[in-house]
Each structure stands twice: as C-alpha cells, then as structure tokens.
Amino acid sequence: MFFIPGWLISLVTFPGVIVHEIAHQFFCKLAKVAVLEVKYFQLSTPAGYVIHEIPQKTSQHLLIGLGPLFVNTIAGAIIAFPAILPTYTFGSSNPIDMILIWLSFSIAMHSFPSTGDAKSIWAAVKRPSVNAIYKILAVPIVGMLYLGAIGSAFWLDAFYGVGVIMALPTVLFN
C-alpha cells in the first residue's frame, strides 16, 4: 500500500468533492434545512464541507447524509458508460473519452459520506424519540459509512470509483 497525501488526491479528483458538496447543499434545500456554511473545495482536510442546522426529522438527516452517495454514484456511472465501452471493449477512444473517464472516476470516488456525515446520521437516529425501525435500518448503513471512511485510507474509495465506472458495462454486457 503506498501513501499519497490527501490534498493531492483531492486536487486530482476535485470535481468529485465539488459535486459531493453541491449534492449536500441541494438535499439541505430539498429538506428545508438551513445551510450555515459551505466550502466546496479546499486543499486541506476536509476537502469540502457543508455545515447545516440540525434537521428536525431523521428522514431529513438521512436524505442530507446519504444524498451525495446516490448523486455521485449515479452521475459517475452515467458519465463513464459511453467512454468506458469504446476504451476498454472497442479499443477506440478519443481525448474526450479520457476526460469523461477522469471526471466520472473523480465523481464516483467521492460518493462515500464522510465520517462527519456518518456521525451526524448516527447522532440523529440514536435519539430516544426515533422509531426503532429507523435505528435497525441505520446500524448497517452507519457501519458501512464508517467502513467506507476508514477504508479510504486503503484506497477503498478509489476501488469504489473504479467499480462504479465499470459496473454498468459489466452488468449490461457480461
């Protein structure tokens, strides 16, 4: 396992960070939660963040926390598909395909919610007033989010990014 500074990874994959934060802000707006501060990209840790007021409902917490996971994953898969197939199946790609692959990988790689997002979701669901079903559902989700966040030290986010961009062609044509 080799070490590359986090800021360098963020710099190379900056579109993913920006899309992740835009998705957080978008879901805050959708959930009618006030956004107090936004950093779309910076060369320090964290590479981006959205500070919002504490949502009143658990569903709002889940929407804001998990929203970027779906937005980044779906956007990454859609952007990659028409570029991956010519490149890997037909050996016939152009520079735009290369840009699309880089962009889609960057976006997909930053799908995982951060440990901050996981903490926020966990704090919301562990409140006594929260329905037991939410708690049962939240345990594996939060567990996976933590695993993803910790796993990024071992390139799990990069593997996820590769998996997302390769998934659609593999599922459809293999």
């Binding site: 579109p15 835009i22 802000q25 707006k29 006030a34 007021e53 952007i79 037909f90 735009i96 699309l100």
Partner: protein, 153 residues
C-alpha cells in the same frame, strides 16, 4: 446578567436582530432561515455545474451509440459461438461503423469472413490490420485460419 438577557430574548444567529423561530432548535428568524435554506450557489459553482451537466448531456447523447455497440458486440460473440457467421459479420460491421479504429473487431470480422468463405472481404481487412497490434488470441486464431485456407501446392 448578559447571559440571562440572551436566554430571555434570544436573537437570530444570522441577522443578530430578529426573534428566532421557536419551532427550531437553531436560533434563526424566519427570513434568515428561508434565505439560508435557499442559499445561492456562487458563480463559479454555477459554471462548474453547467460544465458537468454539459458533459452529462454529451454522455447521454453518446449513451445509445455505446449501448448499441455493446449489444452488437454481445450478439456477435453469441453468433460466432454458434457458427452463425452471417449474423456475426453484420454485428461486427455495425460496431466498426461506430468505432472504425477497433482493430480487434476488424480482426474478428476478418475471422468471420474467412469462416463464412468470403475470402476476398477477409483479405481486404487483413491488409488493413497487417501492421496493427492485436491480442495474442486473435493473432493465433487468424494464423491457424490463414494456414487452413492457403492454397496447397
């Protein structure tokens, strides 16, 4: 004393003047909450979003082409597996119409032509891919086929 005053008359955290909406834990007045919910995106983010959406649209535009090529490839492989070379030839031609640089698929088309007895068409393609880099598997397959169809003295 000041703290007591704040507790009795809390003010909005954003504008520091209006009374916060008591329905929410975070002290924001109705106007400020509305403004922060609808916080505008900065200009450069809007431009980045437009660029990303444009690339997504470009991908969306190319999606059906790539999808059809993928389907044709799948169909060609299946047709080849059951020795239906006419179908395989038609599918490989579709792929090459979309991706004319795919040397590997040109070679597969040549293989299907040979197996279908269309040697002239195969020869035309083979001339074209003569100096191109191909996978070992395809080269081996082509060499075996060429040996088989070579006129015997």
């Amino acid at each position: 004393m000041n703290n007591e005053h704040t507790m009795e008359h809390p003010v909005c955290e954003a504008c520091k003047s209006n009374v916060p909406d008591p329905a929410y834990a975070f002290p924001l007045c109705r106007n400020c909450r509305e403004a922060l919910i609808n916080r505008p995106f900065p200009q450069w983010i809007k431009i980045a979003m437009i660029l990303i959406v444009a690339l997504m649209l470009y991908s969306g535009f190319k999606f059906p082409l790539a999808f059809n090529a993928g389907l044709a490839n799948q169909s060609a492989e299946k047709a080849e597996a059951v020795a239906d070379y006419t179908t395989a030839i038609s599918d490989y031609q579709k792929i090459l119409a979309l991706f004319p640089d795919s040397e590997e698929h040109k070679a597969r088309l040549a293989i299907c032509y040979i197996k279908n007895g269309e040697l002239q068409q195969a020869a035309g393609i083979l001339k074209n891919i003569n100096d191109k880099k191909l996978s070992q598997k395809v080269v081996k397959e082509l060499n075996v086929l060429i040996e088989e169809v070579k006129p015997q003295n």
